[in-house]
């Protein structure tokens, strides 16, 4: 599961200007809140709208989970990860460092 692996990245780089934003598209609010509490997630956690207003599908064009986008300081999507495998967080960290700059 991807989300708990993002917590250490957020803790490590938030002071340098990293924001982590997770969007939940399942609409099972109770379950999500439970998951967030169990894993002590402290970054930004948002809940998507249902149907046509669904942001993840209609605006971000994401249809499979998990998928993540890495956005630079100018608001451009520079990296994406479709799916998440053990060890992907290492590459993500490299990319984050690259975008945070020196």
């Amino acid at each position: 599961m991807e989300l708990p692996r993002l917590e250490p990245l957020w803790q490590k780089y938030k002071d340098q200007g990293l924001q982590v934003v997770a969007i939940d598209s399942e609409h099972d609010t109770e379950r999500s809140i439970e998951f967030i509490a169990e894993n002590d997630l402290t970054y930004h956690l948002l809940e998507d709208f249902e149907g046509d207003d669904n942001v993840v599908a209609s605006k971000l064009e994401i249809y499979g989970f998990p998928t993540s986008y890495l956005v630079d300081r100018e608001g451009r999507i520079l990296f994406s990860h479709i799916g998440f495998e053990e060890g992907d967080e290492v590459q993500m960290e490299e990319e984050i460092k690259k975008l945070l700059g020196p």
Binding site: E2, L3, L6, L9, W10, G17, L18, Q19, V20, V21, A22, I23, D24, S25, E26, H27, D28, T29, R31, S32, I33, I36, H44, L45, L46, E47, F49, G51, N54, V55, V56, A57, S58, K59, L60, E61, I62, Y63, G64, F65, P66, T67, S68, Y69, L70, V71, D72, R73, G75, R76, I77, L78, F79, S80, I82, G83, M92, I96, L99, L100
Partner: protein, 348 residues
């Protein structure tokens, strides 16, 4: 694990691309959990729900396949047959490396299944096993008998194209692609998905053609039909669709690039693979790196090239506003100036 995330897992297992049958329709058009909850749950649905709840709590593939066995022993013939079999087959083959036991489960279940949909899903899992274990003749025979028994939809042909491609059963790929092309029309799409608009159906019909041309082209290249392969890709390219980041939603550009590389045209291969290598599948990234090596003699300069391409192909983050769990609204523009990692997830 829910059906939706299982399907997604299957896509990854088979393809590692967006080229998956389920991407035919946007997310959210299947019945949701909330819909199911408002109806009276049957005994088998309740049992399935309870089993999935235990399933999600464990990471142990041994426990997962055990749960699937238990459920299928009690209810071999239900709406849930395909999901449980598919999940068990995945773990038997990917995590446990015991395909023989998966065969036993699937063939044993098949003798007890009468519902046509459940039969088709069970047979498809048998096809998955034939594909993963390289039983090409059995795969072709099974595909023929399935087509005889069932009224195939496009997605059935597509799934068989994918499985045959994985296995390298090239003649079967071409056969399935040809059959699939008969469904590459707005009318055929509407017949299966009547609720979609004419406009969506028109695009979906075209996209079906791109899928077929992609698989057919790659099969032709593997059969030594080099010119025919290039012609297939060219005739699908206007029909394909692209994601927000410009990645082909079908495997057309991936297989086009792989084909050009095999044909000794690494620069042309990279041209087809730019967006795929940046934002697409691992296979696309690897193929791009291989093409770079073929064109330049080493991997030197590859990282710099990819970084430059990234600037060129990057897209602005679309604006959106969403609530957090406390009801406060978050605006996507709030963090311009920071680096943002946006992760789309679901809790199951």
């Amino acid at each position: 694990m829910t059906k939706q995330s299982w399907t997604w897992l299957l896509c990854f297992a088979l393809l590692s691309t967006w080229g998956c049958g389920t991407s035919e329709t946007p997310a959210g058009d299947s019945p949701t959990v909330a819909d199911a909850a408002t109806e009276e749950l049957s005994e088998v649905d309740r049992a399935a729900e309870e089993t999935w709840a235990i399933w999600e709590e464990t990471e142990d593939p041994e426990v997962k396949v055990g749960l699937a066995h238990d459920f299928l022993a009690r209810y071999p013939d239900s709406d849930h047959t395909g999901d449980f079999l598919g999940s068990a087959v995945y773990h038997y083959t990917e995590s446990l490396d015991r395909p023989d036991e998966a065969y036993e489960l699937v063939t044993g279940t098949l003798t007890q299944v009468e519902d046509p949909d459940a039969r088709l899903e069970t047979q498809m899992q048998l096809a998955v096993l034939h594909s993963k274990t390289g039983r090409l003749e059995e795969l072709s025979e099974l595909a023929s008998s399935m087509a005889e028994e069932h009224d195939f939809q496009f997605t059935d042909h597509l799934e068989l194209m994918e499985l045959a491609t994985e296995a390298g059963a090239w003649n079967l790929v071409i056969e399935q692609a040809e059959d699939g092309m008969a469904f590459a029309t707005p009318e055929a799409f509407k017949a299966q998905w009547p609720d979609f608009s004419d406009e969506y159906a028109a695009r979906a019909g075209q996209r079906r053609n791109a899928y077929c041309q992609a698989y057919q082209g790659w099969a032709q290249e593997n059969l030594g039909q080099h010119e025919a392969a290039l012609a297939s890709f060219a005739s699908g390219v206007d029909d394909t669709s692209y994601s927000l980041l410009g990645v082909d939603e079908t495997p057309l550009h991936l297989y086009w690039g792989k084909t050009l590389l095999l044909q000794g045209e690494p620069d042309a291969a990279m041209d087809k693979l730019n967006a795929e290598a940046l934002f697409g599948s691992k296979e696309a990234k690897e193929t791009f790196a291989e093409a770079w090596g073929a064109a330049h003699g080493s991997e030197e300069g590859l990282e710099e090239r990819l970084w430059a391409l990234r600037q060129e192909y990057s897209k602005p983050l679309p604006q959106f506003a969403l609530p957090n769990y406390e009801g406060e609204t978050f605006e996507s523009t709030e963090f311009i100036g920071d680096v943002m990692l946006i992760a789309a997830w679901n809790p199951t």
